[in-house]
């Protein structure tokens, strides 16, 4: 379990991470989302102690990462894929990391197989493609059989087969009871893997929600109704919490009532319907809408009490 409390990072007068609080729970895949430059990588670097927070704290299993006697068994992380000396072979790289924790050679071979690197294990990493580099980074993250797996943009540079592999791998890790955290700037990709979403923009928390909830809210775009009796249906649906707009004589856009309610009302009063369609906003569009606010927020820093989503 990762717990960030009021986590803050400032470089000079630039605040990269701003009083960020969230949890990454075991048994779940938590998607850590935000546009480029939102502070995702900086947050992840603070989690494993590469950067020191300016304020607040972040703990891993109850204490700061550096205070753990065997940190690789707590958190396995992939930050930038090229966190490897290009002159070393994949095996030598993993072995060097394994030595620090007394992890046996057998485990190194295991993660190499797991990552599908068997054929290039003896090759120097400098010759690796971006995808192979990602696989090596994931192998290194799994080396310590950690309770928490934290990956920064793990599907970058992977081919479709590799993306599917990562998706299944992370699902499996979460199902085993591990906490999985992955960052991404792609909502659609993340929604396929994640259970939970932590969305940030300009270093601030924008949303801390489940994927289902986010999807449900994203679909709150109203219901399109096409009927020959639009005037009458409009009157029947009228209520304080309902807003209805119309773009043509036969068409209504209803919000405040879901499709089911509208269908029942129409049936009760014998209003024929040609079409009854919930207007889903795509997840990506909802995500962009959410993070656009963050950008606007940044341009008006005096507006301190505005709470995003």
């Amino acid at each position: 379990m990762i717990e960030a409390r009021e986590l803050t990072k400032r470089y000079g007068d630039r605040t990269v991470v701003d009083r960020l609080s969230f949890s990454v729970r075991p048994g779940e895949v938590t998607g850590f989302l935000g546009p480029n430059g939102a502070g995702k990588s900086t947050t992840m670097r603070m989690i494993i102690g590469l950067d020191a927070p300016t304020g607040g704290s972040v703990t891993v299993a109850g204490r700061s990462y550096a205070r753990h006697a065997a940190p690789l068994h707590e958190v396995g992380s992939l930050l930038e894929a090229k966190s490897v000396h290009p002159g070393r072979t994949a095996v030598a790289h993993l072995l060097a990391l394994a030595h620090t924790h007394g992890i046996p050679r057998r485990r190194v071979d295991e993660v190499i197989d797991l990552a599908g690197l068997g054929s290039v294990a003896g090759k120097r990493v400098g010759a690796f493609s971006l995808g192979m580099g990602q696989r090596l980074g994931i192998a290194a993250a799994l080396l310590g059989d950690p309770a928490i797996v934290m990956l920064d943009e793990p599907v970058n540079g992977l081919d479709p087969e590799g993306v599917l592999w990562v998706r299944n791998l992370l699902r499996g890790l979460a199902d085993e009871g591990r906490a999985v955290m992955l960052s991404s700037h792609l909502m659609s990709e993340t929604a396929l893997i994640a259970d939970h979403l932590v969305i940030i923009g300009r270093g601030r928390l924008l949303a801390d929600t489940s994927v289902d909830e986010f999807t449900r809210q994203a679909s709150g775009g109203g219901v399109r109704v096409v009927t020959p009796d639009a005037m009458r249906l409009r009157a029947l649906l009228a209520a304080p919490e309902v807003t209805i707009s119309s773009s043509s004589a036969e068409e209504l856009l209803v919000s405040g009532r879901d499709a089911r309610e509208i269908g029942i009302v129409a049936a009760q009063h014998g209003v024929p319907l040609y079409e009854l369609t919930p207007q889903a906003v795509s997840l990506e569009a909802a995500f962009m809408e959410l993070t656009r606010d963050a950008v606007e927020y940044q341009s008006a820093p005096a507006d301190a009490d505005r709470k995003a989503a």
């Binding site: 590469l50 000396h85 002159g87 072979t89 007394g102």
Partner: protein
């Protein structure tokens, strides 16, 4: 692909071996890291090769009539009169650059490649990494340089046969000087590690290394004479070369004092590197 079957082990059951990070394990990791890079072998090989080659050549080409010593510029080679040991150690300057650069690559190289992130994620307390790097390269460079210095002397000895300055390994101070050169080069390697960790840039640290060891003594000669005579023996390069001089010259420290002063500089730089490693974001 067959690898989609995640890990075999549920997290509830602890892995059979779950061991702590210890100083010895970090040392073992750094040892493995050092030898798993081709550049380590090459740089180390070049250093020892230059040490032996220049020493032997200087001994064979020695002629008592020549006025100036055949050595390279820099500390150590400037000493008016040559002896068998100073000729054998002609290559120390070149070797010091090689092992110093090796030290720099060991530490600063991790920053330029990004390896440092992996290293510090595994050892988030950080300092053991720096100590281990120094503890790996120092003794390795010391041992190989000492062997190289001995080889240079023994290979060069036939070339000086019959000359007035000829010495044998058993003569007074000869072994001490040769071993002193080895210790000096071991310390230079650690100096490189410290500079690399302090500056986090290979180019910057190599420049600083060359500047401190080779350029600084020359620059200092611009100082007023009285100051120069007082201060210059304590410069890292000058103190270091005093450590392996056969004959104590009047304007230099004794071998023991020279070694101590140079070790002090290295320790100081290492302390600075440690402070930066702990204090600043990786």
């Amino acid at each position: 692909m067959t690898t989609t079957t995640a890990l075999r082990r549920p997290s509830a059951a602890p892995a059979p071996t779950r061991q702590k990070v210890t100083g010895v394990r970090v040392l073992r990791s750094e040892w493995a890291k050092f030898w798993s890079l081709r550049s380590s072998w090459i740089t180390l090989g070049v250093g020892v090769f230059l040490l032996v080659l220049f020493g032997a050549i200087a001994s064979y080409t020695y002629s008592p009539d020549a006025v100036a010593p055949s050595g390279p510029p820099g500390p150590g080679a400037s000493g008016g009169d040559s002896d068998a040991v100073s000729l054998a150690l002609t290559g120390v300057t070149f070797a010091s650059l090689a092992v110093g650069v090796l030290g720099v690559l060991l530490s600063a190289g991790e920053y330029s490649t990004g390896m440092i992130r992996s290293t510090l994620a595994a050892v988030p307390r950080r300092l053991p990494v720096l100590w281990s790097k120094a503890a790996v390269i120092g003794p390795v460079a010391l041992l190989l340089s000492t062997v190289g210095a001995l080889a240079a002397f023994l290979l060069g000895a036939p070339g000086l046969d019959g000359e007035a300055i000829s010495l044998s390994a058993g003569d007074d101070g000869v072994l001490r000087s040769l071993v002193g050169a080895g210790v000096y080069l071991g310390l230079v390697a650690v100096f490189g590690v410290a500079l690399g960790a302090l500056l986090r840039s290979s180019a910057g640290a190599i420049a600083a290394l060359v500047g401190v060891l080779l350029v600084l003594p020359g620059l200092a000669s611009l100082l007023p004479d009285a100051w120069y005579d007082t201060v210059s023996p304590y410069f890292p390069g000058n103190a270091g070369s005093a450590a392996y001089a056969l004959h104590e010259s009047a304007d230099a420290l004794s071998p023991g004092a020279g070694l101590a002063v140079f070790a002090g500089w290295v320790a100081l730089t290492l302390a600075g590197a440690a402070l930066r490693l702990v204090r600043t974001d990786a």
